[in-house]
């Protein structure tokens, strides 16, 4: 459904003639319908840039991103707007991703009315359905975002993304700002929505455990390159690239004894790398 080939994104440097920063060099991957592709990497790896490139929020230097046969790179803003029926987003920060002065109903109705898929009355019926889908009460509609907790806000953001019944949702660290128990519930919501609607996710996270939980396939990013790409089991159980191995070993296990073993394994791995 979505195919990215040799995508390069470069941010302009500050000032005249200064060299730009290449956030992505030559990244290729694809997402199939109904599938979750996990994108894992540390800060500065370019994972967020990939999401923003697909959403048309950063200009792509070279390469191609095709969605359902349409080329996204170099698309005009008008065409791009039409594409919002198909590609949507859930951002990391549930606080700044919702306009603080709009009610939940306004937030959810906005995409429907903007794309003229519904008149005001149909839209408010649809809003009720969306709230059901993300497990929020109907009386939420007249309240402002600040009256909700982080997890509930993220549910509102998910409802907004679902409003236009997209084929793909780019999820940029959607659970990273949430508490542990909330995180698990929101992840399960993502999975059940996918099973219900068949939407595909590009799921971006720094947390390998989260990505493993929700993804069918995983791409590991390191400094603007995909260093490992494949089925979730292969990548997380039998990693080949040394960086993936380091990443796996670094995540502490919630069990003192097994963590002691993992810690030792990590030390051995680092030592063997130092020799090699």
């Amino acid at each position: 459904m979505l195919e990215a080939h040799n995508v390069v994104v470069e941010y302009a440097g500050r000032g005249w003639r200064s060299k730009g920063f290449k956030a992505l060099h030559d990244v290729s991957f694809d997402i199939k319908p109904h599938e979750t592709l996990g994108l894992v990497g540390e800060s500065g790896s370019g994972k967020t840039t990939i999401g923003r490139a697909i959403l048309g929020l950063v200009p792509v230097g070279s390469g191609s991103i095709r969605f359902d046969g349409r080329e996204l790179v170099g698309m005009s803003r008008r065409e791009r707007r039409r594409l919002s029926d198909d590609i949507q987003v859930v951002f990391q920060d549930p606080y700044s991703s919702l306009n603080p002065s709009m009610t939940v109903e306004d937030i959810l109705v906005e995409p429907l009315v903007a794309r003229r898929t519904a008149d005001r009355r149909q839209a408010s019926v649809r809003v009720r359905t969306l709230l059901d889908q993300v497990g929020l009460p109907h009386d939420a509609v007249h309240r402002l975002p600040r009256e909700f907790s982080g997890g509930q806000r993220q549910r509102i953001a998910i409802a907004r993304a679902l409003a236009l019944q997209p084929k793909l949702i780019v999820c940029d660290e959607p659970v990273s700002a949430l508490d542990l128990s909330t995180q698990a519930r929101v992840l399960d919501l993502f999975i059940s929505i996918q099973e219900e609607t068949g939407v595909a996710y590009l799921f971006i996270s720094h947390d390998l455990a989260v990505v493993r939980h929700i993804s069918h396939r995983v791409a590991v990013l390191y400094r603007g390159d995909i260093v490992e790409y494949g089925d979730v089991l292969d990548v997380t159980e039998r990693p080949e690239h040394p960086y993936t191995k380091r990443l796996l070993m670094a995540a502490p296990l919630p069990d003192p004894d097994r963590q002691a073993v993992r810690r030792q394994e990590r030390r051995d791995l680092l030592a063997s790398e130092a020799i090699a």
Binding site: R115, V210, A251, L253
Partner: protein
Amino acid sequence: MTARKVFRNPLAVAALVILLVIVLASVFAPLVAPHSPTALRLDRINAGPGSGYLLGGDGAGRDIFSRLLYAGRNTLTGAVIALSVALVLGVVSGLLSGYYGGLLDGVLGWGANLLMALPTMIVLLALFQALGSSIYLAMVAFGVMLSPGFHRLVRSQVMAVKHELYVDAARVSGLSDPRIIGRHVLLVVRAPIVIQAAVVAGIAIVVQSGLEFLGLGDPGTPTWGGMLQDAFTNIYTSRIAIWWPGMTIALTVASLVLLGNAIRDVIQRTERVRKPPKPPELVPATPDTDELPLLRITNLTVGYPSNDGYREVVHGVDLDVRHGEVMGLVGESGSGKTQTAFSVLGLLSPGGTLLGQSSIAFDGTELARLPESERRALRGRRIGYIPQEPMSNLDPCFRVGEQLVEPLRAVSGLSKQAAVTEALHLLERVGIPEPRRTFAAYPHEISGGMAQRVLIAGAVSGKPDLLIADEPTTALDVTVQADVLDLLRGLQTEFGMAMLLVTHNFGVVADICDRVAVMQDGRIVEVNDVRPLFASPKHPYTQTLLGSTLEDSAPRTRLEVNHA
């Protein structure tokens, strides 16, 4: 809602009432005024108040009161014209400039700067020369000259809002640019515009009256400035006449400015508790003295002042930290774990108060009632602190080295040379590859992981007995986190420090802690050694938390079925 808060300010209400009276009286001047503004009575030239005319007569024997009302129409119309022109030009160009940036911003900004550089009064005087005596035309020109103020204000506000995620989300939702500007951006910038508009309206009235006072404009129509001029000419015959237009102008402008200020106060200031109530006297419970651990917290209750007494965020926490052990304090946001740690440091946010029988016994000393000077002496020497956000805890204006040397000298009284040597030694100890380079670097030149190592070096520099670490690895990448945990473990064993580690991550707890306390809603629900806590959690909340960790959950498998 903002309006209701504005009405709670008595000054704002007074200003609003005055403005309303002046505006209404001017608008309905033909109905209210007792005389025609142009009716002359020779016997009332420069007459005092009461002599048939309410406020007296002017130099031509016309009723000052009636003329004030009619003049209000002209002067206020002029002000509205200037304000409207400034608003339309300034806000539109500011929105475009801020939202699109680039070349458009450059051109518009250049135009705004050019207008600002022109001397307003001289330009307006020249315009009268060129365009004739219409004061309204002059006010249009004045509006243009005022527009850069709005342009700059709106532009800077838009630039701040433009990068908010909800604007990105609106774009992804398929909203067109005009719609995004209209719905999301304008909503945020409207408040500062309203405030600025009130002030600008006042300025417009003053400048317009000034021009008329100089004798510009149509002498046939009554205006406040024109009346001021007439009264000024006759100041030796009728001293009081100059008061009336003068007072009217002053009242109007002052009301506008006061109203603007009141709105600004409401928007900028969050509601403040008037006066924190006096906390009830603290009576620390005396802990059993037999075998005191390094740190014994008993009945710790932390409250913040609210409108009805104190709102408690920590409700009676008991916790021991023994010599040389690592105590983990886990919980979700709002559980009170950081408040507990900060109570020990004595660094609660303003208003934070220990209540009731709170007792913090550190090595036999009761911290809860220790004067601030003595607590300060403990921090850095016997109690070290590692913060969550390494970058915001280093001052960007000073080199890393200076920020290590300064406390070293303050705490250990080392000479400068000795402190530098010690700082370099510390940097090497915390695993910084090139200590000299980092020493001479500014905080923005080093990575987050390096910054956290620098802060750890600072925290252990006084060889403390107790190290308090508040989510020390949360802001770091997972590979860096593993290194920092290794470092902390090494230092802890080397110095034999006790550590109170605040975290939400059970992996971190499993990695480094000897004992764990689980907090929920300001209470400790379970304390245990680390192995039994993970193996058989007793409290349902601990079970929920451990059940929510994903590290051991089964991965999703490949999408087998072809749904298409």
